[in-house]
Amino acid sequence: MASTAEGVRRRDWIHIAALSTAGVGGASVLYPLVSQMAPTADTLAASTTDVDISTIEPGQSVKATFQDQPLFVKRLTPEEIAEAVADDTADMRDPQTLAERLGEGNADILVNLGVCTHLGCVPLGAGEGEDKGEYDGYFCPCHGSHYDVAGRIRKGPAPTNLAVPDFEFASESVIRVG
């Protein structure tokens, strides 16, 4: 594509311009092809969940669904709070205190995504009589991750604590997640 004595050859210019136009066109077509794989508008629209917490007794959990994933909402008992606070300083993979996990102005409502941070199984422990693992919280049966009473990873392959989604108290008795 060398230029001649008269400067850039007309044909070279046409080649470069044509290929550039086709390249930009091709890349523009690629964007919608990639983007169509992302979550659809209706999936994104169903992105908040309200949970009624007035009927949850201390020590009891309810399971809800948040963005197609299981959500565990638990009212901790005073004993469980004491146990979790006592463990705040323990050696952990993903250190976090109970207060950080509950958030401000929230004494006892623990909200966790019921999705093991290892490979996405639903941990046991939120239902009546389920295996709570060695730390009295949640146990993932797939690959043996043990979470403590505050949903913090204590043993097994999971890399982080159970996720705490953003939530707020919509009223005294209802939390809005998302």
């Binding site: 794989m37 992302a38 669904t65 490979l119 797939c142 690959h143 097994g156």
Partner: protein, 452 residues
């Protein structure tokens, strides 16, 4: 294609002559899998599995296209549609069981085909490209099989999809957005089921395309053989048809007896009962395992339970989850490097005493252990056993194979394939009778006669 003495296609009738001028398709077939393709005369039954794999690919495509006529990829109805196929569609039960067990048999013959390649070093020059394309086919098969298993939308379908797409979430920084993009939501749902169905339909045809490249690449140097000695002259070869079409036909008959026995008497033996329970995103089955053909790689994935840290500090370099994912992918990607890791000039394991010991007493028990451990519960002693087996697996390919191939003293090789078969070279005149004698017994490689 490959040798100067390969017979050329000669059209006999006016129609075939006309056809040969316009579109020489019969000529292509004749030279590729007919009398025009000379093949080493000493191939044993381990050389059947390429053709058998081709058969099962065709079986999967035929039964799959038929099943797609009755299936619907919507989470509301998918599980019910599969039962509809089983109960209402004429012979639907047979098509579905043939497709499910056909996948298992496809993997059985592919594993034997791959391990034939390991033992006889089929990956060595000049056949590296055949091997590389073969590994690509295996990866495509794994993707296809995984997505196919999601389609019935049972418990194992759903949780398998969740765990496998969760692997991508382990990639640093881009992992979680990538996972959401792949699934089209925050958990597998309608979007995931639809795209998996679309890709599950597409990929077998991509596999068929790569198979054509695989065979094309094979026909340039020609087939390898159990001695690993290259073809030198015409008496070393016999035409593919009728000799190997007959031998492959016999092997096909044997595998079809096994296949139909599974299909009609044990159709669910290789499946999981949990997959007859409809998918429930809020309840995980007690033990999530993939289909049996993924067990070795699943065992490697689960073997990593501790983070990689800087010694004596708490700084995590690579978290356990990512380590497992890397190791699982690496366990297959290492196959791409085999042609360059194994430096021995001798191909066949028959003439490599040290390599042979590590193959039979190292690699084979290691793979058997990984097959067992991938389906076992994630608890002791299985965890530590899978760690040992995983360590040996990588040690075998990355350390033992390169060292053994440098230090071992191979046994003397026969001068030619003909000599390996007949004991001494009879020259070109004896080739025709030798070729017919050959079909009487198939023990040429069992007692190779070294030169001198």
């Amino acid at each position: 294609m490959s040798f100067a003495w390969a017979k050329q296609y000669e059209p006999q009738t006016a129609f075939t002559k006309w056809m040969d001028e316009k579109l020489p398709l019969p000529r292509l077939v004749y030279s590729a899998v007919g009398a025009g393709y000379p093949v080493p005369r000493n191939l044993n039954y381990m050389w059947n599995f390429g053709v058998l794999a081709g058969f099962f690919l065709v079986l999967q495509i035929v039964t799959g296209v038929v099943l797609a006529m009755h299936y619907a990829s919507n989470t509301e109805v998918a599980f019910g549609q599969v039962e509809h196929i089983m109960r209402n569609v004429n012979y639907g039960w047979m098509m579905r069981y043939a497709h499910a067990n056909g996948a298992s048999f496809f993997f059985i013959v592919i594993y034997l085909h791959i391990f034939r390649g390991f033992y006889y070093s089929s990956y060595k020059a000049p056949r590296e490209m055949i091997w590389l394309l073969g590994v690509v086919i295996f990866l495509l098969m794994m993707a296809t099989a995984f997505m196919g298993y999601v389609l019935p939308w049972g418990q194992m379908s759903f949780w398998g999809a969740k765990v496998i797409t969760g692997l991508f979430g382990a990639i640093p920084v881009v992992g979680e957005p990538l996972q959401v993009w792949l699934v089209g939501g925050f958990a597998p749902g309608n979007s995931a089921l639809n795209r998996f169905f679309s890709l599950h339909f597409l990929l077998p045809f991509v596999i068929a395309g790569v198979v054509i490249l695989h065979i094309w690449a094979l026909h340039i140097p020609g087939s390898s053989n159990p001695t690993g000695v290259e073809v030198k002259k015409e008496s070393d070869t016999i035409p593919f048809h009728p000799y190997y079409t007959a031998k492959d036909g016999f092997g096909l008959g044997v595998i079809l007896i096994l296949f139909t026995f599974m299909l009609f008497f044990l159709p669910n033996m290789l499946g999981h009962p949990d997959n007859y329970v409809e998918a429930n995103p809020l309840s995980t089955p007690a033990l999530i395992v993939p289909e049996w053909y993924f067990y070795p790689f699943y065992a490697i994935l689960r073997a990593f339970t501790g983070d990689l840290t800087i010694p004596f500090t708490d700084i995590i370099l690579v978290p356990a989850k990512l380590l497992g994912v890397i190791a699982m992918f690496a366990s297959i990607l290492v196959w791409f490097f085999l042609p360059w890791l194994d430096k021995s000039p001798v191909r066949s394991g028959h003439y490599r005493p040290m390599f042979k010991k590590f193959f039979w007493f190292g690699l084979i028990p290691c793979m058997a252990a990984l097959f067992y451990l991938g389906g076992a519960k994630p608890e002791e002693p299985f965890i530590v056993l899978s760690q040992i087996a995983t360590a040996y697996y990588f040690l075998h390919f990355l350390v033992i194979l390169p060292i053994v191939s440098q230090i071992e003293i191979p046994k003397p090789l026969p001068f030619s394939i003909t000599e390996a078969v007949l004991g001494k070279d009879e020259g070109g005149a004896g080739a025709a009778t030798a070729a017919t004698d050959m079909s009487a017994g198939d023990a040429p490689d069992a007692s190779p006669q070294p030169a001198e």
